[in-house]
Point group: C3
Chain length 210, copies 3
């Protein structure tokens, strides 16, 4: 199997993992089937959509990506019908999600690099591509976004994105660089979950007037 | 009266119905007059704005649509000053709203068809045009969006949009097709409210870790 | 010092004041450092981002504005490390914030004028540039936006923006007009806070069915 086929598989399974996680969140909030479908979509394509809008890649990419649409709809339907079975696949879903954020970070960063933004903006747009679907999902479900309180998720993307930003100028083959950085993001994410690593949160402080 | 004039009237009264519904929601949340105006706007133009952004129709259409702006501002002001009287028009407001979502679905779908998106994306963009203003309103008012828990609203748009997607290729006159499909959406919406039809919601399930 | 340098200083200090206010809100909600950084960013650039998207100025301007990015990141870090000291600067922060909304209103309005929108849309886009960062911040922190319940904030922008819309056609020097209108917005805001001026809010009303 070629590297690019491997990346394509990650894309599909990562998208599915995002959609399934979104559908579960929506079902936990007792939405109806239409709401579950929308939340699955927003979780899976929200990050890339925001990135496309900010940089001006319009129409946003998923509108012309039938594969993604079919994968998301099937994942949402499967979650609604076979939710209890899918829960036994938690480990697999975590793995796909962790690979997915790795790939989506790299994809977002590549698009930013082509538009010649500064290093910091490229890494930010990569991280946004991977993480912002979850933010939009939480906003629609009326929660404070989870990743603002569990930062090793975004931090993994920032680390892997920064590594890729510099590796892509090296002599290394492009696909190999990608896979290395996806691996790095995956590793950080796995370590964070395995050892329950979290950064400290701020204590509640008295309000600033004005 | 020509069909196109009829469609124009639906546009105006539908926009007003959306703005009035938004203004009432904002007043129920005890916002100030500025907040009520903004929520009326977002409810009326939110769906079309999101559609325009996603497909790249920028500047978004309402910025150049003085009629819509005047209709929305007048509706919001009327609701603030004469709210208690407007409540006696509940049935009329429901009718305009139901006609409005029909028209906005068709308008959104037409724009998507011109951009040559797939059938599923066209119907989705049509439904989004009609329904997303209410979603944004609920997000700004800090609620889980109502239509994710009352799906016959969006479902009516999906049904009517799908019908129009196929009818528009038929020998039927375009304006007649439009009016038939707006009627279909109206009918489904009316039946849903009349007979209190709702799809089942999901039960609360234990959380998925990760 | 030339007027334009003065405006440049307001830009930097205003952006910092927005970012610091955002960071404080995030810390009060007990977010982690990543969340605090994101909320600081959204508060500072949210209004201009929405304006750029609606009018089609893509990529949105802050992606190419390294100064703003550095100012926001430094402000967020400073707030996290020296928050308790910054609280002693409350008055200074209020002054910068009030000058900032003045400048951002004028900048947004200028962009709208160049695109030849109607007077009402120009003033609306100016006000949005100044006020919408705070709206997005509140949505992400899961609150009903504060400015929908404290209207003298947006009202000051509307008043100053309207004044500038007409002054810019007068014989007055452009930079002088700008500074006068920023002063007007500042004055209204200062009077509102000094004398605790607020518009009445609506009483809770019975819900509208449908």
């Amino acid at each position: 199997m070629h590297y690019s086929q491997f990346l394509h598989l990650i894309d599909i399974f990562g998208t599915a993992a995002f959609a399934i996680a979104g559908a579960f969140s929506a079902m936990e909030r007792r939405l109806d089937p239409f709401g579950v479908l929308i939340i699955a979509f927003v979780t899976a394509i929200g990050g890339g959509t925001l990135r496309d809008i900010l940089v001006g890649n319009l129409p946003v990419s998923w509108l012309n990506n039938s594969t993604a649409i079919i994968v998301i709809m099937s994942s949402a339907l499967a979650t609604m019908f076979f939710g209890t079975y899918l829960k036994h696949l938690q480990t697999a879903l975590f793995l796909f999600d962790a690979l997915g954020i790795g790939l989506f970070t790299i994809i977002g960063l590549e698009i930013a690099v082509q538009k010649e933004f500064s290093a910091i903006v490229c890494v930010a747009l990569g991280t946004m591509s991977a993480c912002f679907g979850g933010v939009l999902r939480d906003v629609l479900l009326n929660k404070v976004p989870l990743i603002f309180r569990r930062e090793i998720y975004a931090l993994a993307c920032i680390a892997g994105g920064t590594a890729y930003y510099f590796l892509r100028r090296s002599a290394l083959d492009e696909d190999v660089s990608k896979i290395l950085c996806i691996g790095l993001i995956f590793l950080i994410r796995w370590l964070a979950v395995r050892y329950k690593l979290v950064l400290p949160r701020f204590y509640k402080q008295p309000e600033l007037n004005g």
